[in-house]
């Protein structure tokens, strides 16, 4: 929680600015869309954070999003599989990708950065080759399957805002991962492995298995996220779908208080981190800044945000120190 305070502050500041200056920012429909986008990106960011907790990194998230996402309409429309076969296959495939990463990293002791960078190239390549670079879409069909991501639930008493269905997996996953990390034996082990792998190993923790598990979870969530993304967007082009999403996911995780050195995570922070990025992008459009400036604004705001957070933290800790010193004297 404490780790998440910084990003919550940054989020609040951006939200305030957006409410003041963004046209129609505080309308139900806008908040509804924002919730939906936050949910989608959060799922990727949660996956990234599990790997980051172990001190690793997964650069292949975007490509797994692409491969898994593209596979859904490709299998449904082009290969004419049944939805009951497609979804489990795609999820199993995503998990298999993670297993592959995990084994290369723990058994062959290759660097995670390198393995998942190769993955980044490989899975996108496979997606492009598989579809012949043809964009894949549902062609207006499979509304019932897509409802998984597209359904919106009216909330009694609130007008104009309907809760997007994607929030459900986000919340479920966040709660599960949060409990997993703080309340289960394995979560404990994962945190210990991330901070001091040899200490964990000497304590009898099966570090290799846990590291592998974290890559499996990350790829699984990326694959699941990819499915939700394609349900939401309706169609995608294999050469650009999911590009840079790993950076967004990792950025959200790091903003949310995960240290890339491992051993630290805050689920709430990660979700607020993902939400921050989405609110920023939305604000840029609603305030009417040109989309050329989008990147510059996001970069600058985040940088100022984390720098300010750090300065505030320092200032307060120095004050506390001084107060403590006085109390002692």
């Amino acid at each position: 929680m404490k780790k998440a305070l910084g990003i919550i502050g940054i989020f609040a500041a951006i939200f305030l600015v957006a409410s003041l200056y963004g046209e129609n920012f505080l309308t139900g429909i806008n908040l509804q869309q924002l919730t939906n986008r936050t949910a989608l990106y959060s799922i990727l960011a949660l996956g990234a954070s599990i790997v980051i907790v172990t001190g690793g990194i997964d650069l292949s998230i975007g490509s797994v999003v692409c491969l898994a996402g593209i596979s859904v309409p490709w299998l449904l429309v082009e290969q004419e599989w049944s939805p009951w076969a497609v979804l489990p296959t795609v999820l199993a495939g995503s998990a298999a990708i993670g297993l592959f990463h995990g084994l290369l990293i723990t058994k062959l002791r290759l660097q995670p950065f390198l393995v998942t960078l190769c993955g980044l190239l490989l899975y996108r390549g496979i997606a492009r080759w598989m579809t012949g670079d043809q964009s894949q879409g549902f062609q207006g069909e499979f509304g019932d399957v897509r409802a998984i991501a597209l359904a919106k639930f009216a909330i009694p008493g609130i007008e104009n805002y309907r809760l997007p269905a994607t929030v459900i997996p986000m919340v479920v996953l966040a709660v599960l991962i949060g409990l997993f990390l703080s309340r289960t034996v394995w979560g404990r082990w994962l945190l210990a492995t991330g901070r001091n792998e040899s200490a964990a190993r000497y304590s009898g923790v099966p570090t290799a298995r846990l590291t592998t598990l974290s890559y499996v979870s990350c790829s699984l969530l990326a694959g699941f996220g990819g499915m939700l993304f394609i349900f939401d967007i309706g169609s995608a082009q294999p050469s650009d779908f999911g590009n840079f999403y790993e950076l967004y996911a990792i950025a959200a995780a790091v903003l949310g208080g995960c240290s890339l050195r491992g051993g630290e995570a805050s689920v709430i922070g990660v979700i607020v981190g993902a939400a921050t990025l989405q609110v920023l992008r939305n604000t840029i459009t609603l305030v009417g800044l040109s989309s050329q400036l989008e990147f510059a604004v996001i970069g600058a705001v985040l940088l100022i945000g984390v720098a300010a957070d750090e300065l505030v933290r320092r200032f307060t800790s120095r004050r506390l120190e001084r107060m403590g010193a006085v109390a002692k004297a």
Binding site: R183, L191, A192, Y202, S203, P206
Partner: protein, 499 residues
């Protein structure tokens, strides 16, 4: 253990060891640095696989069975627990989490945090740590971390408890307590194997002492049939010379002045003292007394208020600036703050020297290698291979490497924090001789040690700290263990010992 051996590329760490340890016995293993003690213990606890030989462990019924210890889990299943020589804690966990790491009480994988905390508090109390089990490990000083590791090993209620230099970072009080615990466990029928360079502890507690030398077993002494000197002889192969008392330095110029220094890290009380050229000042005190912080403040590793002056000029800026002025610090935690473990001995030893002996900032390759060769010989590094990675050195030899780095540059002020942690008695004498030689050449030396014996051996003047402030000063000729302990525990100084 039968015929157990372990080889690494280029060295045989251990050869053909046959060893028995019995229930209710305290077996001490002693030997010089690099003799193979830690390797032996690691094999016993499943961390390292032996290249050859077999291990047999008695089951609950007392029948010996050959076991394959592949990983720590096998060993703990066989009832074996090890406290490593180097600290191994995941500092992001709290004390309870650290103690139960790897065998957390749980129901269906869900932690039973309350039970864990309660149990942890019990084990912490057992080793004398009255701390909240939900404190984070990263907040603890090194000695407390060591105690946590011991508590962790005790909590496994192992039938074979293995301790690798458990007392090297403990001060007298904690050591006493540990020895008492060992006594109790022995009475309860636990088999205890422990390694220590502190022979007086060994003499006091061990039922049997096994001496290792160059990976071979060279001697075995049963309780009551040996004295300290005979073990020393078996270990080192000669008697250890006692240093002659040093002449007084009262007339020399003051080099280092510490004036109302308060480290901002732990909010202590102001510290003031000064050190003359050629003087060796020892900082004594209990764990957490603040010695480390004083040394780190002088070196500029932690921010501090107050003034530190060297030869009349204030020391300012970060460590880099102070090192340039001639300050040198040997940190307490060598693995974390002292060494570049993956790099060779040569790089570790020449690092500080380079800055002073480069021309146009170029590395003088030839003189660097001759310097390193000289330092390896001077510090008696074993094996004497400058190109060996420090990681593969034994603990004591790693310590010699850190000290060697500073011995190579003749610093104006040498600050040593636990200078001979894990160093064998022979090498300790050599290090002390080196420190004296440096002081004789006019340097000011301040060292902190938890070992009263070392304080008494090396210091000209002793500053005793208690809870962050100076409790008193004693001159070497007046010093006794009792007098130091009285000050360190907050008792009033007795007549004549107050400076």
């Amino acid at each position: 253990m039968r015929g157990v051996g372990r080889r690494y590329a280029g060295v045989t760490a251990l050869a053909a060891i046959d060893l028995e340890a019995h229930a209710g016995e305290v077996l001490a293993i002693v030997g010089e640095n690099g003799a193979g003690k830690s390797t032996l213990l690691k094999i016993l606890s499943g961390v390292v696989e032996p290249s050859e030989g077999t291990i047999e462990v008695a089951d609950r019924a007392g029948v010996l069975r050959a076991v394959r210890l592949d990983g720590v889990r096998d060993a703990s299943r066989a009832g074996i627990a090890l406290v490593h020589q180097e600290l191994n804690l995941a500092e992001n966990l709290d004390l309870a989490g650290s103690i139960f790491l790897g065998r957390e009480p749980s129901r269906f994988g869900v932690l039973d945090l309350r039970l864990m905390r309660r149990e942890a508090a019990k084990w912490l109390a057992r080793v004398g740590l009255e701390l909240d089990p939900s404190t984070l490990c990263e907040k603890l000083p090194i000695a407390h971390r060591q105690l946590v590791e011991i508590a962790k090993a005790l909590s496994t209620e192992a039938r074979v408890l293995i301790l690798d230099e458990p007392t090297s970072s403990l001060s007298a009080r904690e050591t006493e307590r540990l020895l008492a615990i060992i006594d109790e466990l022995r009475a309860a029928g636990v088999c205890i194997i422990f390694v220590s360079h502190h022979l007086d502890e060994v003499v006091r507690i061990a039922d049997r002492v096994v001496v290792l030398r160059d990976g071979r077993q060279t001697g075995e002494f049963l309780r009551g049939r040996y004295d300290r000197a005979s073990i020393e002889r078996a270990m080192v192969g000669r008697d250890i010379a006692r240093a002659a008392p040093r002449t007084s330095r009262a007339g020399e110029a003051v080099r280092l002045v510490v004036d109302s220094v308060v480290g901002t890290h732990h909010r202590r009380k102001p510290i003031s003292f000064d050190v003359r050229a050629g003087e060796i000042v020892g900082l004594a005190g209990l764990v957490g007394a603040g010695r480390t912080e004083v040394l780190e403040a002088i070196a500029g590793v932690v921010r501090h208020s107050g003034r530190v002056t060297l030869d009349g000029v204030a020391l300012e800026g970060d460590t880099a600036a102070r090192v340039r002025r001639g300050i040198a610090i040997v940190p307490e935690d060598r693995a974390r703050h002292g060494l570049f473990l993956e790099n060779p001995v040569s790089m570790n030893m020449s690092l500080a020297w380079l800055d002073r002996h480069s021309r146009a900032r170029l590395v003088p390759t030839a003189s660097e290698s001759s310097l390193v060769a000289a330092m390896v010989a001077r510090m008696q590094l074993r094996p004497p291979q400058p190109r060996r990675r420090v990681q593969t050195l034994s603990g004591g030899n790693q310590q010699k490497t850190v000290i060697g780095r500073w011995m190579a540059v003749d610093p104006a002020v040498l600050l040593l924090d636990e200078p001979t942690r894990g160093v064998d008695i022979g090498a300790r004498a050599e290090i002390h001789a080196e420190v004296r030689r440096l002081a004789d050449a006019g340097s000011a030396v301040v060292f902190a040690s938890s070992e009263l014996e070392e304080i008494l051996m090396l210091a000209d003047r002793i500053i005793v700290m208690h809870e962050g402030s100076i409790a008193g000063e004693i001159h070497a000729q007046d010093a006794t263990e009792v007098a130091i302990m009285r000050l360190a525990t907050g008792g009033a100084p007795s007549e004549g010992h107050n400076a």
